[in-house]
Every structure is written in structure tokens, then in C-alpha cells.
Symmetry: C2
Subunit: 383 residues, 2 copies
DNA sequence: CTGAAAGCGCTTACAG
DNA sequence: CTGAAAGCGCTTACAG
């Protein structure tokens, strides 16, 4: 059937494209019947539906997203705007895996993911607003939630499907999914305190981000509860800051005996400074991270980390967003509540982190897994 | 003007949306005139155009991409399909920066980037075919070019704008942009040979990828030309393979004195094996990489690398793709050549790599830049 | 330089 | 369960 191939690539439309009208003609029905059939809704007999479907396949019909969207159907696209520096996209293992999880679930439901990098939070809001105004997306996912985030009120105002990745709190009336960072922090502090550490130092990333602020608070509280000294420094996410802070900590009169870093990149940078200064990581001083990426597992000693599968996190976010879009979709009777923030919907879903103890806090752990059977040898990447 | 806000979020269409008809009424012209005005094409007087534009702004009109697309205008979207494992997305600094460069140029021209992860080359072809059939994209960029890539003939057949990232060769009649990997290889081999190394080992990634194959060939040729011994092993892109191959190389009767890795992740994994075996990297044995990421610069010793800005690479690809879409766009008279592969268009654009010498091949280099003034301290990430 | 009309491909009420 | 029609919001020839 080579005749069905596109012969005039440049020629737009002009009768060459296969449409539901072509199918209708062949099937001896009307275009409306075809629409019902291919969209799997009632209104046509099973026999007709089957016939229509097989003709559609035979003619290699592809629905026109533009026509569907114009007629009011969902555009089958989810949006995500990012206000992070370009380079970070590639150096953030967590984010890559998160996106992969998103994509997986979206693709399975025939949704596309539309991503855009902008350079300010204001531009994030503006892009989101335009996407909805243009009907380019059916919903959005909000990542990198900040403590005081202008996107939350803006999205509450828009009243469109939006899922916040982050919390608890600070996501207003919008539904959210998040990792329990307070719990993750307690796991780490407890592990170190249990091993006899009395002076902990948290080398933190950007305090404007909510999950960092939540870790900060939980760290202070847990250190108090466990009666250990906890110092807190914000170093930003790069390696430079982590190096500088680590060096500064070592220079103190009473240096810490355990360091907690927000990312693996930071942890490795800090570990390098420690090693250059003559400390043996895992033996003389402990190092741990909130991000359990391959980096943490290839380093020697392996880095103790608390984490959860970022792929799984992405899957959950996508699933929840699709639910929201479905809720707001065309099947819902007109009498839906005005605010998307009705109690049932705002309910957030939590992911519980897990602690993976390795050589950087417990030398015995690396010896036990020397054969390479790291318990976290799955695709887990965690925040 | 709070009245212009969307009051019924769930209610699709139904007269609430601002359209060109609303603008036309206010301006006392026809909708066609508005279309011409907002698209900046001739047919309306300057005075009318200005008036129309200001009314459009006042009414906060947003064009409907669906309606535009349905009427035959470009959909302002570029597509990119990836058949790589999910996790790799986040651990590939090169790729992240490349995407950032793409986005930057596309956004500036009001284009979106549509990305999709699939799990096989066949699915790549199929997705691309569907995207064009549905008019979801105006053009695509082809990355991760393989030596024998089914996408090339498929895209030649489709006759739609497609830019190949990779080469030279193997991109058929399609236009391409690429980094000169043969040249990069010569820079590395020459540098090492000049420093007196006589036994080089290349620890390579996946041989199915064209750029890897090109490096393989150039490596063999240049080693011969410089009369040095060159061994070649394919280890895949993970850290495991690099570790295993490195260990195996050390066990040989005549181990190499210099190792070349395809990525920084591989180089660091290899360096770790060397260090654990008691070798001092930079002093006893040289290590270099084809990827100049932040990883290469934070490691101690710093890793000598050959690279080019991945952001710049992305920008070039986007610019070239937009040219292609423009060429195939509506402004072109009907008499364009049938094949997109007319000589002028197939002309590929080359990016020349640069060698950055650091401590892993020349201890003096790191001492010189000890103050932190690494010459490659820009956003460069290279392949 | 401007107006009136047709059409892009689909979906959704509304009659039969 | 099926048919005929209107409409989504824009662009593009084609007349004036």
C-alpha cells in the first residue's frame, strides 16, 4: 500500500490527509459516528464500531490534535515550567529520573510533556498563564516549590489542574505530592547519633526552596531532641559552596564529626576536601547525603544516603495530575465546586524515604557489600 | 480590569474567550484584517495595524494554537524523541546543557520543545512519524545518531524538516550539525604522545553510536601515525564497565601509561580503580576524557578533557532546525525541489573541540591553576 | 488596502 | 442507535 504514503510533503491539507470523513464514507456512516467510535463512547453499535475501527486502521488515520483541541477536547499535554539555570538540568540526577517517571506514565495515557526553561519565577507564572489561555496544556506540574512561591496564588486563581511537587504546606489549596523530608532528616540524625556522633553539621543548599527549609527545621529539632550539637550552613547547590563550607567547618575549634549534605555532588565535593585535609571519610569523620544517586554508590567509600526512587516520584506526580485533569474534564457534571481546593482533592500524597547505610558513616557496611551487592542497586534516585 | 479574568474555568469556549472576531468588532474591521495585523504581514495600513494591536493587548487576546494549526499555520513546536534509558537523562551533563541551548533559541522564536522518551529505535521512528502525521511538530532534531540508524531513511522518506545531531556521514541526505570527534581524538592522542606516552588505552562507550565509532577509528589511525601503541576496549557508558576494563588493563603484562575515557563518569570510575590500585593519577598514569563537565573540574587531580560548549551546540542545532522549518514553511513558492537533500541544504555545520590540559595528564597544569582559575570555568560541557 | 467566504478536522448537542 | 448541523478560532485565497 505505498499509495497511502505522503507524496507531497510540502502541500498542507488539500484533500490528501485521511480524515474521519473518509472513514465515514467508506463505512457508510456519518462523521459523528466515527468520532464516537474512535473515542470509545456510546452511540454506535458494537458491529459498526468494529468496522469503523478497522477501516481507520486500514487507512492509517491519525487524529488531528489541532481539530480535537479546537472542538473542545483535551489537548493531551501536561506542562512543566522550570526557572533553573540551564546547566543544572543535566547535572541533576534526581530531576532526570523524575522526568523519566513523569514521561512514562503520561506516555502510557497518550499524553505529551511540554517543558520550558525560563529565567525567573515571574516568567514561570506568565508562561503557565499563557499555556492555559491558549489551551496548550490540560494541566501543569509545579516543581522546585519555594517557601514563598508566587505560583501558588497564581494557579489557585487560574483554577486549572495543577499538581504541586513539594510540601507539606506552602501549596495552598492545590493538591500536592512530596517526599517526607522531615522524616528523612530524622532518619539521618538518628543514625548518626546512634553511632555516637555528638557534633553534626548540615551543609545545606538553597534555603529558598521549601524542601531545604523543611530539612533545616527538622534538623534543628531532631538535634535538640537527641541532645547533639547541630550546626547549619547554607552553601548553595554548587560544588564551590560545599567545598568552602566544609573547609571552614574543619577550621573550627571543635569541628563536627559528621557532615550532612543536601546532594551527592555537594557530598563528594565535601568528601574531597576532607580527604585532602587528611581525614579518612567513614573512619575519622562521617558523611551522608539526601540524594541516593549512582554517584553516591560509585564513590569510595560509598556514601550513606536517604532516598526514594525519583522515577517512582515522577510516576506518582503524573498519575495524580492525570487524575486532576480527569476530574476537571468533560465527563464532570456542571455542578462541580468552584474552587479546586475542596478538601478531598487537596489531600496530599506522601512518599516515605529510606535510609541506606554505607561506608561513609559505617565502614563495616561497605565491607559487607564489597561483592557489589549494594542494597540500593536499583534505579532509585532520591531527594 | 478584573472582569477579563476567566470566571468559569471548567466551561470550554462558549463565547467567553477573546477571539480575533472580538478584536475586529472593536476595531471596526474584519477578522481577516486582524489576522494579517497580528501576524505582521502586508494587507493592512500601519494605522489600522497599530490600532488592532493595541486593542488585542487591551483585551488580553491570546492566539489559539489549535485554530492556527488547523488553518495550516506552523504549530511552533520542535520535537525530539529519545530512546535512552530513563536514568541516563539526569546523569548526562552534556545532554542537559544541550537541551538548555535548544530551549533558549527555540523559546526566543516562540517555539516549544516537545520531548518524548521511548524504549526502542523503532518507537523513535514511529513516534516521529505520528508527530508529523498529526502535525504536532514542525520539525524534529535527531540525537544519539547511530552508525546504522533506521531514523535516517525514515526521515528522508517523510520529507519533513529534520536536523541530525551527529556526523560526519551517516546522516544521509539530511542536514546535520556535529562536533568534530576525529579532531578531538587527534588532540588527545597528540597531547599524550607529546608528553612521552607510548602505550595508550581507549576505554570507549557504546560502539553503536556514531560518535564513538568515529573516535575509535581516529584513535587507531592517530596512534599509528604517531607510532604509539593504542588498545581499544568497549565498556558501555556506565561506571561498572569502565571499572572492569580499567582493572583488566592494569593486570596486563604491559599496562598502558595513559587512559582515554569517553565520559567524565567513566573517567572518574577508572581513576578510582587506579588510585585504589596504588597509582597516582597524573604522576604515574595519565587519564583524560572527552567530556568537560563540572565533574572533570572538581575531581582531584582535575581531568584533562577535550570539549566544546554543549549549550552552544544546542543553540546551533536549534538555529539550524528553525532555518529548515523556515525553508519548508509557507513563504516558499510551490516550486521547491522535491527532495530536502539538495546540496546546499545538506551542508553540515561543524563544531571544533578544544583541548583543556589539567592535572590528570600534567601535574604542573593543576598547580598553575591552583587559585581556582580554571580556563574552562565557563558553562562548557563537551562530547 | 479591505470585505466576505470557505475551509482546516474534529466534537457535541439536538433531532429523528 | 443514527443523521444533519453548528461551531471551535484561525488563515488564506479571491474579489472588490
Amino acid at each position: 500500500m505505498t499509495t497511502s504514503r505522503q507524496d507531497r510533503p510540502r502541500g498542507r491539507g488539500r484533500g490528501q490527509r485521511v480524515t474521519i470523513v473518509d472513514i465515514a464514507e467508506r463505512a457508510g456512516v456519518t462523521a459523528a459516528a466515527v468520532s464516537l467510535a474512535v473515542n470509545g463512547r456510546p452511540g454506535v453499535s458494537d458491529a459498526t464500531r468494529t468496522r469503523i475501527l478497522s477501516i481507520a486502521r486500514e487507512l492509517e488515520w491519525e487524529p488531528s490534535p489541532a481539530a480535537r483541541a479546537l472542538a473542545g477536547a483535551p489537548v493531551l499535554t501536561a506542562g512543566m515550567v522550570l526557572a533553573r539555570p540551564a546547566e543544572q538540568l543535566g547535572s541533576d540526577a534526581f530531576f532526570g529520573a523524575f522526568v523519566a517517571g513523569l514521561q512514562e506514565v503520561l506516555s502510557a495515557r497518550d499524553y505529551s510533556l511540554q517543558m520550558k526553561i525560563v529565567d525567573s519565577p515571574d516568567a514561570e507564572v506568565e508562561t503557565t498563564r499563557r499555556w492555559f489561555a491558549q489551551r496548550k496544556v490540560d494541566g501543569v506540574v509545579v516543581v522546585d516549590l519555594r517557601v514563598d512561591d508566587p505560583r501558588i496564588p497564581a494557579l489557585e486563581d487560574l483554577g486549572q489542574p495543577a499538581l504541586v511537587v513539594g510540601g507539606p504546606g506552602h501549596h495552598g489549596a492545590l493538591p500536592a505530592v512530596y517526599v517526607d523530608d522531615a522524616h528523612a532528616t530524622r532518619l539521618l540524625v538518628d543514625h548518626l547519633a546512634d553511632r555516637g556522633h555528638r557534633r553534626l553539621a548540615r551543609v545545606a543548599g538553597d534555603a529558598e526552596l521549601l524542601h531545604i527549609a523543611l530539612r533545616d527545621r527538622a534538623f534543628r529539632e531532631r538535634c535538640t531532641a537527641r541532645a547533639v550539637t547541630g550546626t547549619l550552613d547554607h552553601a548553595g547547590f554548587g560544588t564551590r559552596g560545599a567545598e568552602a563550607v566544609t573547609a571552614e567547618l574543619l577550621a573550627r575549634r571543635e569541628p563536627p564529626s559528621a557532615l550532612l549534605f543536601d546532594t551527592d555532588e555537594m557530598a563528594l565535593a565535601g568528601a574531597r576536601v576532607l580527604q585532602e585535609a587528611g581525614w579518612r571519610v567513614g573512619e575519622d569523620i562521617a558523611v551522608a547525603s539526601y540524594e541516593d544517586s549512582p554517584l553516591a554508590r560509585t564513590h569510595r567509600p560509598r556514601i550513606t544516603a536517604v532516598g526514594r526512587s525519583a522515577v517512582e516520584y515522577g510516576r506518582l506526580a503524573a498519575t495524580r495530575l492525570l487524575e486532576l485533569i480527569g476530574e476537571g474534564g468533560r465527563h464532570v457534571p456542571a455542578g462541580t465546586p468552584e474552587h479546586p481546593g475542596s478538601p478531598a482533592e487537596v489531600e496530599a500524597r506522601v512518599i516515605e524515604p529510606e535510609l541506606v547505610v554505607r561506608g561513609s558513616t559505617d565502614p563495616a557496611a561497605d565491607r559487607a557489600t564489597a561483592a557489589g551487592t549494594d542494597p540500593a542497586h536499583h534505579e532509585a534516585l532520591a531527594r
